[in-house]
Symmetry: C2
Subunit: 509 residues, 2 copies
């Protein structure tokens, strides 16, 4: 009986006849050139628990082991094949990113204790580090597979963000969207506007201040890059701006600075969209942000600007998107930005309304496509992971048609939400965590896990039967089939020490 | 009806006839010389919420307000008097520390919203910032009022530690004991033994690595000093040492390095107590630690060394205590160190057995007094705050005769635990948090609050009726009297954003 279990589900996984691969003291990792960095990463995962030397080297080394090979071709750069048997494991991909995703799958083929000792277990002798004989071909459905962390409402350290990067990388998520500014905090050093962090970074919903220096941000970007995660920074405009408004009087309508804010209401703040100072601010912030961000995207917010007229809002986001695009980046905005028909061409819209769109949300979303952009789906009622669990309201919030169960987080399709939105226009999916109620990564992980596993599978695994993008032989997306793979994965979360909520709706091991 | 409520309970609090003091836009804070820093601190607390200018200056300023005055005399340096009435508030103390403690009381005399906006409350206009007319005289029962944070089992940032310092300072706690090394991690940079952090700092129970650089530690020490909190660093020896043993083979019996450890068992590790390398290690670590620690104490551990013979253990701790004392510091050790009759004179013992001592715990504790030292009480069954709550086992552990209720955390006396231990030999009290199960300050605060309020009152407030040190007219320690003061204080925790567990045993507001 197979105990093979992988999340997200690969495109195809076939068990082969024959013996497993057994990692032992004589094993080596064969990886050269571009593959060597992934080889080093894999060795770093496997050495601590096994105690094996696992040298990383070229193909010329004779020892059996794990082989990581890049074969550039027309295949999806994030995809890979994995072949395991008694002679070894071979992962082949068109890029280092594909090898990295293959390694995340390989981890799940080892016994769970590979990740770390379980509490109380000090005996490393005698564990059979066996990888079953399988043939896997795999590639993601969507290119943008994201997680968003709100580092503005409360303060998180560089170490916290790195920890989250490692966790999402397990699930082949490849973008981390950092919500860096809001009413309650401005969390990124901007040299040309220093009070943004001196004042705007001085408080948070649950207490003290903090922010990322440019060195911190560079450290995060580098760490993410090593895990093939692209950092997507967001500076929310023109609303969700009280931290900036408390820092600089000239950004305010009426020219008087606000106070710092530690509540959790939304919608009441706006920059003065017609002030010359505001456009100097936008220019400078975008310039500095683009300089420090190697990734292709800048997120400029655009949500819940409830005090501006529709015309003023549309005019603002159009101009802001053009400032962003002029920096060389592709701008992302929340779907409300689609109210403007004059966005920088190619601007990407992030949909955060519900599975059944309300009011103008669908029309605003299609506006991005009409203007040459694509769409990221983050429906709040299933992929906002700060929404309460059905069996726990200790943390999180209760709007967005909550609570949100694991089954609900799994039971939706990105291409089946906005009428008229074709699969080709869907860039991908993002699971968001808003942190008004959270203090530290224990809280974030409790809310993220296990529901983010569901969203990650929606982002990666093949379109299920019944969706426009599905293959003719596609399977249905079945929570009953997913659940045991999720609870098996939880054993690895235990070993890794990643916090998760053992929801009553699942049969935990 | 009085709504005056202060924790810890002051020595005496008398309500006066007449109007309260009302803080307003014209108020000033009068503080000069040594008092000025406390004046600045107080202004920093009061300005954000009130929006008042609250200039801090000399007595010559006419405006009514809050006056902080140092009157050096023979009174307890940590004590203060507070007199409030329509003309202002005057806090008088023999030292800046005493003024600081008076300010912590003053905060609790203001309406709770002084601490910060409650969620959703953006309206600063119209709050009556009134301090009732009272006369308070106050001084602590014990000089050493501590909290211990285990930063070795899991990783906490400098910001986390600062946050905890601010929280404990509210309760007039004045020592923060940092448990910096254990089997699962070594969290302090030691220049002469760099692998301690490279390897020993690379993992933790719940995941990744981390450690404090010397700059981090200096930042913590400075922040604590500004809140009149002394940092007490602990390097645990000879047991609880696996992180060091994984870093340097020469410290191990048999000369082979261990692996890093992420479990939660205790007692199995020991340095090679007879190796020359070990004593070089102890010398170097103590030297560097003493150099970076302005406070008077170095804690050298000594607990749960279960694999050494009694002789080897006694010999080790005797020599280690002398190395510590030679650095100019006073050594603190867990009570097991008292097995040696040859400690450095004046070595302080920290008792962590139960309210009813088991086995040799009492004898070992008295040994410190016999050798010229004093005792800190941290009975595990009431002051280890990582032990489960009766109504929550989500975090924490379940030994130490747990669970531990708030009432249990309040219902004990430091001078009534060890037979033969006189009040004069009790240096003080410490509430400990062991963090095997905790990730971030949300978890730590959930376990610390509200029970640490109980321990802080035991550390500060007068000896209750029935204890040897009690005044003739002392009141009994009454949980029924304490509970409403605790739930009133929780409103301030809410305003500050400090996490706490709303235990079922209290009637929360």
């Amino acid at each position: 009986m197979s105990s093979i279990s992988v999340v997200p589900a690969p495109v195809s996984l076939t068990e082969r006849a024959g013996d497993p691969f057994r990692l032992d003291a004589a094993s080596a990792i064969h990886a050269r050139g571009e593959a060597a960095a992934v080889g080093d990463y894999l060795a770093g995962l496997l050495r601590p628990r096994t105690g094996f030397a696992l040298p990383v080297g070229s193909d010329e080394v004779d020892a059996a082991g794990i082989r990581l090979t890049i074969e550039p071709d027309s295949a999806d750069p994030d995809g890979y094949t994995l072949l395991s048997g008694p002679d070894g494991v071979t992962i082949t991909a068109a890029s280092a990113a594909g090898l990295f995703h293959g390694v995340q799958t390989l981890r799940q083929l080892f016994p769970a204790p590979i990740e770390a000792p379980l509490a109380g277990d000090t005996d490393v002798v005698g564990v059979d580090w066996a990888v079953p004989a399988v043939h896997i071909t795999d590639a993601p459905r969507f290119a943008y597979r994201g997680a968003m962390l709100d580092v503005a409402r409360n303060v998180f350290s560089v170490a916290d963000v790195k920890r989250y990067i490692d966790a999402i990388a397990l699930l082949k998520l490849n973008h981390l969207h950092l919500h860096l500014s809001d009413d309650q905090g401005w969390r990124l050093q901007i040299d040309s506007w220093p009070r943004l962090t001196e004042i705007g970074g001085s408080t948070s919903v649950l207490g003290g201040g903090g922010f990322f220096t440019k060195a911190d941000y560079a450290e995060i970007v580098e760490y993410a890059a090593g895990r093939f995660v692209t950092i997507v920074p967001e500076i929310d405009l023109p609303g969700h701006t009280n931290a900036a408004l408390a820092s600089y009087a000239e950004l305010n309508i009426g020219g008087v600075a606000t106070s710092t804010y530690r509540g959790i209401e939304v919608g009441m703040s706006t920059v003065d969209t017609t002030a010359e100072a505001t456009w100097r601010f936008v220019d400078d912030v975008v310039r500095e942000l683009a300089e420090m961000t190697p990734g292709p995207y800048l997120h400029l917010g655009g949500d819940e600007s409830l005090t501006l007229s529709a015309e003023d809002f549309a005019r603002f986001v159009a101009r802001a998107s053009r400032v962003g695009a002029a920096s060389g980046k592709t701008v992302i905005g929340w779907h409300e930005m689609g109210q403007s028909g004059d966005l920088a061409p190619g601007t990407i819209g992030q949909y955060w309304d519900y599975l059944v769109p309300r009011a103008d949300a669908a029309a605003h979303t299609l506006s991005f496509v009409e203007q040459g952009g694509s769409v990221i789906l983050s429906p709040a009622d299933v992929s906002y992971l700060d929404i309460h669990y059905p069996d726990s309201d200790r943390l999180g919030q209760d709007w967005a048609d909550g609570p949100t169960s694991v089954e609900q987080a799994y039971s939706w399709d990105p291409a089946a939400i906005v009428p008229g939105l074709a699969e080709e226009a869907v860039l991908g999916v993002e699971a968001a965590i808003w942190t008004e109620t959270m203090l530290g990564m224990g809280d974030v992980e409790f809310m993220a896990f296990p529901r983010i596993v569901a969203v990650a599978e929606i982002a990666w695994s093949p379109a299920p039967f019944g969706t426009p993008g599905a293959a003719p032989d596609a399977a249905e997306r079945s929570f009953a089939e997913f659940s045991p793979r999720l609870t098996a994965f939880a054993e690895r979360l235990d070993a890794l020490g990643i916090r998760y909520h053992r929801t009553a709706e699942l049969a935990w091991r």
